[in-house]
């Protein structure tokens, strides 16, 4: 069972996801989803929050009820919650949920770039000036076309022999 605080967050995320879905459904499918879905999530989440704060009876049952109410948005809500970013960073329907893309334009002579938004993420792909880089290493010093990815700091480092040129387009995909 997910923790109470996790379920509260998932319900908050699912609420806005459902809210968006409902408006689209109303336009294109004449409302096949209960149009009160987002409202229900808000209402039950508020009750759940109060129950948690006051240690009321049947909190586990309420936890499960609110969790289940997130329904089909649960997976996406989990991804958003895990990544700590807004839904706008989720590539819906492409590359798999949770894959994120960032880019930077370092100055000439730099050998590393900080991707603050990618701290803690696993790197999947990187390119320099639209060309794929070589192997990823996670420790040591990169040589040739290797790149060093430090997940803890979000820093991508290239070999000192091949520093970036001015405004070089550096693109990464992480999850």
């Amino acid at each position: 069972m997910a923790s109470n605080s996790t379920v509260i967050s998932l319900a908050e995320i699912s609420q806005y996801l459902w809210n968006d879905t409902i408006s689209k459904e109303s336009v294109f499918f004449n409302g096949t989803i209960d149009p009160r879905k987002a409202i229900q999530l808000y209402m039950e989440r508020k009750a759940f929050e109060y129950g948690v704060a006051q240690s009321l009876e049947n909190i586990d049952g309420t936890n499960n009820y609110v969790y289940a109410m997130c329904g089909a948005k649960l997976k996406q809500a989990n991804v958003i919650l895990d990544n700590g970013f807004s839904g706008g960073d989720v590539i819906v329907g492409g590359g798999g949920f949770g894959v994120r893309e960032y880019s930077k334009f370092p100055s000439a002579g730099q050998t590393s770039v900080v991707f603050q938004e990618a701290i803690g993420a696993t790197i999947l792909y990187a390119s320099r000036g639209s060309l794929d880089v070589g192997a990823f290493i996670t420790s040591g010093t990169p040589i040739g076309n290797q790149v060093l990815w430090d997940s803890a700091t979000g820093i991508l480092t290239v070999a000192s022999t091949v520093p970036f040129v001015n405004d070089e387009f550096v693109r990464i995909l992480v999850k």
């Binding site: 009750a47 109060y50 006051q54 009321l56 049947n58 009820y65």
Partner: protein, 178 residues
């Protein structure tokens, strides 16, 4: 260091009739020997425990260095209320040294009832499909939220009390609404 006056108030589901006040002031002033609490209601009347003959409630200080006891429980609420609470810190000759006023919406009666509706729903999920039942629950939610927002955004105990009165009406007439 002079006293920087502050206090907090809370209410809980188990004893919704009780307001818990805590003196959270920092600093000290040993000339302060007593506190007084004023619970101003939206109708302009002061709320006091039964048997109290003054507009205020005495909150004694037994240790002028620590201002203990730092908490007091006031058995004053028969239903949810929006209150403007003033705490005064006074000398033994009743000179007010410090004063602090904060507004609160006490919503435990309504929130607890609302939580109970969710429990009914868990036991009988079809209640969600009962339009009146669910819309009435929604109205109750709006009233509770409105009361809190009136306090948070404007310290407006009048609007907050009006919302809480509407919530109380729903609860008192729950046989009709749920």
């Amino acid at each position: 260091m002079p006293l920087s006056p502050n206090f907090s108030a809370s209410q809980n589901s188990g004893l919704p009739n009780v307001i818990n006040l805590t003196d959270t002031s920092t600093g000290s002033d040993t000339s302060i020997t007593k506190r007084r609490i004023y619970l101003l209601q939206a109708n302009g009347q002061y709320l006091v425990p039964s048997g109290t003959t003054t507009n205020y409630i005495e909150w004694n200080i037994t240790n002028v260095n620590t201002r203990e006891p730092l908490s007091i429980q006031l058995n004053v609420l028969e239903k949810d209320a929006a209150l403007s609470i003033t705490v005064q810190w006074l000398t033994s000759s009743n000179v007010v040294i410090e004063s602090k006023t904060t507004s609160y919406a006490f919503t435990a009666y309504s929130e607890t009832f609302y939580y109970g509706l969710t429990q009914d729903q868990i036991a009988n999920p079809l209640l969600v499909s009962a339009t009146d039942w669910y819309e009435n629950k929604m109205i109750l939610r709006v009233e509770i939220d409105s009361a809190n927002q009136a306090i948070i955004f404007a310290s407006d105990i009048f609007s907050a009390q009006a919302a809480l009165d509407r919530a109380s009406y729903i609860i008192e007439n729950s046989n009709y609404y749920f």
